[in-house]
């Protein structure tokens, strides 16, 4: 209701105000978002599909794509489990320090990814707190694939939890109690009642997390030391190719990363329209 009245209030603004605001938004988006993205695709395909296929047939490029997909594939499910656990713990139980915990989950949003990378080196580097011990077991974290995965996880921690906490807070636990009183087991309650209720926000969080995991540069750059064909993810490989003055290959790879992100974005807006549709339906009836 309040949202609707806010809208009608705004549409009563003078025409010129409306046009200025719309103009600023469209201009900003075109100049700073659409134009650069268009350039990436244009540069990638400028010399035809040939450069594109050559760039992709490069071993290092394929290794970078593989590593990005691997890091994402490890990071996203872990994040999903963590997000569900964190949201469940902070909304269904009460314990001291709960609000502090919720704030701490947000920490990766506030901290620069470069700092995150440095922290990982301090902990897992050869002279770091745990690095020596792990090295003893033959496990190298920093300047290796585990470091890349750890850095990706660190920067994406808040995504799923952040989406779920407000939704689960609003829903409370009455539906779960109802299910249990009707004889459902804990697992049945979770799969048949809780999960369907948070399905869309969960998927939304997972998509955002995926996009971020694939695109992460700063933290990964610090811990990977850019070993081509080994610890380079797509963003790092693009950077390396560009520094080699191999612009066509850089743009070809960039267009792939951009396509992945755009796909995620499209899925996200489709989800948003679904959620809006659902909440509108409920408003109409109430």
């Amino acid at each position: 209701m309040s949202r609707n009245s806010g809208l009608s209030q705004a549409s009563r603004d003078p025409k010129w105000v409306q046009w200025i605001l719309i103009g600023i938004t469209v201009g900003f988006v075109t100049l700073l978002l659409i134009l650069p993205l268009g350039v990436i695709f244009w540069e990638a395909f400028r010399k035809g599909l040939k450069t594109f296929t050559i760039a992709l047939s490069d071993r290092n490029a394929r290794s970078a794509i593989g590593l990005t997909l691997l890091a994402t594939a490890i990071c996203v499910p872990l994040n999903m489990v963590f997000g569900l656990a964190a949201a469940w713990a902070t909304t269904k139980y009460s314990f001291p320090g709960k609000s502090l915990l919720i704030s701490i989950i947000d920490l990766p949003f506030a901290i620069s990814p470069v700092i995150a990378g440095l922290m990982l080196i301090l902990l897992y580097g050869i002279h770091g707190w745990f690095g020596g011990v792990l090295q003893g077991f033959g496990l190298q974290v920093i300047f290796a694939v585990p470091g890349v995965v750890l850095a990706t996880i660190f920067v994406t921690v808040p995504f799923v939890a952040r989406e779920l906490i407000p939704v689960m807070q609003e829903q409370g636990s009455e539906q779960e109690w109802a299910a249990i009183s009707l004889g459902a087991s804990a697992w049945q309650t979770f799969t048949k009642v809780t999960l369907p209720n948070i399905f869309f926000p969960l998927l939304y969080g997972v998509l955002l997390c995926t996009a971020r995991a694939m695109g992460e540069f700063g933290a990964v750059s610090v811990v990977s030391s850019n070993i081509r064909g080994l610890t380079n993810t797509i963003p790092l490989q693009i950077d390396a190719l560009y520094n080699d003055y191999n612009a066509p290959a850089a743009f070809a790879l960039a267009s792939i990363l951009a396509s992945l992100s755009i796909l995620t974005l499209l899925a996200k807006s489709w989800l948003e329209s679904r959620i809006e549709h659902r909440s509108k339906e409920s408003e109409e009836i109430q």
């Binding site: 109802a178 299910a179 087991s185």
Partner: protein, 358 residues
Amino acid sequence: MSVEVQHVNKTFGSYKAIEDVSLKVHSGELVALLGPSGSGKTTLLRMIAGLEVPDRPVQSGEGKILFFDQDVATWSVSERQVGFVFQHYALFKHMSVFENIAFGLRVRPRSQRLPKAQIDQRVRELLQLIQLEGFGNRYPLQLSGGQRQRVALARALAIEPKVLLLDEPFGALDAKVRQKLREWLRRLHEQVHTTTILVTHDQEEALEVADRVVVMNHAKIEQIGTPEEVFHNPASEFVIDFLGSVNVFSGRHVEPLSETKTAETKTAGAKTDEAKIYVRPHELQITRESLGFSSISAQIQRIQRAGASAKVFVHTSKEQNVRVDIPIQQFQLLELEVHQQVFITPLHSHVFSPEYTI
């Protein structure tokens, strides 16, 4: 099945939600737990359901909850086989009405589960019982509040619960729908005869629906009785005050300790006999002439004629505001007007001496 609560306590931190409460609900009975918010009624209901655990007993015989004389204190919610209906329905939004009602039957372990055809049959019967045949494919969000609450009730009844527990079931509905559902619930109870405990803060609802009413205040039970008993023979000032509007006079007894005799309302010197006198608006008479020593002179401030009785608000010579209800026909004969000087006389009153109050 009978439900019994024996000397149960419940504290949340330092807050006492339930203090030494004992109660027995007989098999097939419909009992209302009535009280203001914070009186502990919902906590008591949730403890019976197993959603809340009573405080650990200090002495033996304390803190027991019995279902049919069997201690269920250590039983889980599902083992108790109670049907619980929440104030805000708690329907599963992503399931149709049919699936909601079938839920309790479908989640049973395979060995105890009814065949699909029988489940469908049972759900159809329940849809009929709640007068929502043809609504099986709708989703909760497509129903009105009253319809949702009926679905919640059918869902709870589907598992054939031993006890039906209703937490403010009509609290979120508007007055007209509440009235209808109240009557429907009473008829339903006569059909299914499941032992039912209903929590409400609405005295009209409790008096109209329940076989017995348990009036609660400050974590304790004030009175248990039939609707007639609690309304006409209230055990405490709280009960008379909570069950409808009442005028309070201070005065002293003519006959000490008799509780429901006509009382003298003039304050006299005798300190020992000081008491509060409670008179319901319909227990007062308005006349133009004084009827004797118990009449008080007053001036009419406001008259409200809408309804079966007229509500006359008067200001007495003792600087008190008093409400008098008169049947509308009688009111018309009296030809009363605002600012008129009249006399009010209690026909009936309830007296609580200080030493008898808690």
